[in-house]
């Protein structure tokens, strides 16, 4: 276990160095460290306004979505659970759309707070809905399907809502669905990072009941877990983390689903302390890799981040499904 942690930490550090140094078209590595005379301000802007927020959001998204995915998979005892596939992301977006439509007067940090809060609330409401349904559904795949239908339904409603308000909003909605790690300003980062950290720390506080939940709700209850309270805590943490990412990056699919599964395959443990650390590190690495790929391809083609994670994620999900065929 220690080895995996160490390996992931080293990998992450290497990637961070690469991300910071990666040259853009026509530049050298770490060009921003050696600006030409008169170029200092511009290089400073390029670093602080463009590069740092992008790298930071890749980390935030990777960590938040992976931890959310792990928590959801344990909560529903379903390896195919994840924040976007169960419709939590769409729910978060619906609430953000309503907030933005309804509060034209908010701006700046207040708007940010408002959007984050409503995104979290949206994810929570839909998480509760799915939880309600999960109790009535036997098979893992059925829960998935219901979640996907819920997500599709909500997205359609949001689209209709937005298109009635303003033709440009509809275009903006379509753009939103591409996902983006580049829409955050430098001074928005502190709040985002603090909230992410809070969510992650909270997840570590419920490691004990999470470990028991691996045996299923009944056995966990017999072992002494307060099921209701644990379910609520999981949902609140997931809503915070998922809401945060959805509010600032849009939907980024499959990360929450595949990263925890890959971590479990390699770590081979039910101990959530290990799994949380592993998922956070692996998630950060995954998103950073995706962003680096997007940067590399920028001169040739602009790849929306949600499309990239979907292209990678969907085949992995199919592989997982085939592997677990007998348990579905």
């Amino acid at each position: 276990m220690r080895n995996w942690h160490l390996g992931l930490i080293i990998g992450l550090l290497v990637l961070l160095v690469v991300a910071f140094g990666m040259p853009r078209e026509g530049e050298a590595w770490f060009a921003w460290m050696f600006p030409l005379k008169g170029e200092e301000m511009n290089q400073y802007n390029l670093l602080t306004e463009f590069r740092i927020p992008r790298i930071a959001m890749a980390l935030v998204a990777g960590v938040s979505l992976s931890i959310s995915g792990l928590l959801l998979q344990t909560l529903f005892n379903n390896p195919l659970a994840g924040p976007s596939i169960l419709g939590l992301t769409s729910g978060a977006h619906l609430f953000v759309a309503i907030t933005v439509l309804g509060t034209g007067f908010l701006s700046g940090p207040l708007l940010d707070a408002g959007i984050t809060a409503s995104a979290g609330l949206g994810a929570l409401v839909f998480g509760l809905l799915i939880l309600l349904v999960a109790g009535k559904v036997r098979s893992h795949v059925s829960l998935l399907l219901i979640g996907m239908m819920l997500g599709t339904f909500v997205s359609a409603v949001t689209e209709i809502l937005l298109s009635r308000s303003d033709p440009n909003a509809l275009k903006a909605f379509t753009m939103w669905s591409f996902g983006s790690l580049q829409n955050v300003a430098f001074d928005q980062l502190p709040v985002i990072l603090v909230c992410t950290l809070l969510g992650c720390i909270a997840a570590f506080f419920i490691v004990k009941p999470l470990n028991a939940l691996v045996l299923g709700e009944r056995q966990a209850k017999v072992l002494g877990v307060n099921i209701r309270r644990t379910q609520w805590l999981i949902l609140i943490i997931v809503s915070l983390l998922t809401g945060l990412v959805t509010a600032f990056c849009g939907p980024i699919a499959f990360v929450g689903l595949i990263v925890p599964n890959l971590v479990k395959i390699f770590y081979r443990t039910g101990n959530h302390q290990q799994l949380l650390v592993g998922s956070a590190l692996a998630g950060a690495i995954f998103m950073l890799l995706c962003d680096l790929l997007i940067v590399l391809l920028e001169p040739v083609i602009s790849l929306p981040v949600n499309s990239l994670t979907s292209v990678i994620g969907a085949p992995v999900v199919v592989m997982l499904l085939l592997k677990k065929g007998r348990h579905a």
Partner: protein
């Protein structure tokens, strides 16, 4: 032999002036996607495929009441067309220039229309509004006695074209939107001229536009107005950024596109004039930031105010043209722009020349400075 020579020279000369010659396929001077051929009993309009320049379809415009024997491949249209469905707002603009708005009985979504007369017609019910081409019910067309549908061509037939033909409704593609030359686009007014049986009016209007455009272009090139104070630094041509972010990608007009050409004619040093293509080119925001550091102007950002612009993307505040407040767009009245600019490119040229300082000071037709 001399007669032949005369005919040859005559048709060549006529071709140069753009006046259609009897029986000869006359080339429109600027427009690439249509040709007009005058025959004894009818006028032929040929639509050319934008991809390869081969003929897509031919229409025979026959005056009302006349009976003419036509080749089977041609589609007959009775002119002047009294009831037309004009599905693009540029068509409205051209018909408006011909004072022929009265023949519009069907058109597109009123959310995109600027013409007060057409909007009134839609409100009163005398003009039908269709949102999507595929959602047009033939009953609505018949109710308004529409005999011709003009739509923005996309290489295929209009949905249900053959069924509509059986009902006596002809559908005609319009490729003005595929023309890259500013005057080529405007020249399509001639097509509408023939459809409404006012060819001379159309020719006259276009000649005026052509003259105005070319004269200004020549004057700008010769530097006639430079003394007035170009807003570029050290009277170098003003550097212009165009386009905006959509999602994570910046879309800017490519080097041979419509906008790029007008900018060039207006004496601008357009940032991406070197990009090949007639459509858009894509850039990352970071790349655009680097490129625009020395830019003086920003055209077509797709916003109505600086506040609006910054709300779209906070990083715009780092852009030089924005810091200088040299940002211009038509978004405050985009319906009017899309309706009227196609047939009046000289107004766009005049706007650019005025705001860039490469031409005479003048009231802006379409553009407004963002505050």
């Amino acid at each position: 032999m001399r007669l032949l020579l005369l005919l040859f020279v005559g048709s060549w000369l006529a071709g140069c002036s753009g006046t259609p010659v009897k029986g000869t396929a006359a080339r429109a001077n600027y427009a690439k996607h249509f040709r007009i051929v005058l025959h004894d009993d009818y006028t032929e309009i040929q639509l050319m495929k934008p991809e390869n320049g081969t003929m897509e379809k031919a229409f025979a415009l026959v005056k009302r009441g006349k009976k003419v024997a036509l080749p089977a491949s041609m589609t007959q249209i009775e002119v002047p067309v009294k009831n037309m469905a004009a599905l693009s707002t540029t068509h409205i603009g051209m018909l408006s220039a011909l004072d022929a708005l009265g023949c519009i009985k069907g058109t597109t979504d009123p959310a995109y229309i600027s013409s007060p007369k057409v909007l009134k017609g839609i409100r009163s019910g005398s003009i039908a509004a269709f949102s999507y081409e595929s959602s047009i019910a033939p009953e609505q067309l018949l109710k308004k006695d529409i005999t011709l549908i003009v739509f923005s061509g996309f290489g295929k037939d209009f949905p249900n074209a053959d069924k509509l033909k059986k009902l006596g409704i002809v559908s005609m593609a319009n490729y003005d939107w595929r023309e890259e030359h500013p005057l080529g686009k405007a020249e399509w007014i001639k097509v509408f001229g023939y459809l409404t049986d006012q060819p001379e009016k159309a020719e006259a209007y276009f000649r005026k536009v052509e003259q105005s455009y070319n004269e200004m272009k020549k004057a700008i090139r010769s530097g006639t107005y430079a003394a007035g104070g170009s807003k570029g630094t050290n009277s170098r041509p003003p550097k212009v950024l165009a386009g905006s972010l959509i999602g994570d990608t910046w879309f800017a007009p490519a080097g041979q596109s419509y906008m790029a050409r007008i900018l060039k004619d207006a004496g601008a040093n357009y940032l991406y004039s070197g990009e090949k293509g007639t459509g858009s080119c894509e850039k990352s925001l970071e790349q655009v930031y680097k490129d625009q550091l020395t830019a003086d102007f920003w055209i077509n950002p797709g916003a109505v105010s600086i506040t609006d612009l910054l709300a779209q993307q906070g990083k715009y505040r780092l852009f030089s043209p924005l810091k200088k407040k040299h940002v211009y767009c038509y978004t405050h009245n985009s319906n009017y722009f899309w309706e009227m600019s196609a047939v009046n490119p000289h107004w766009i040229l005049s706007d650019f020349a005025a705001l860039l300082g490469t031409g005479p000071r003048a009231e802006l037709h379409f553009y407004e400075q963002l505050n």
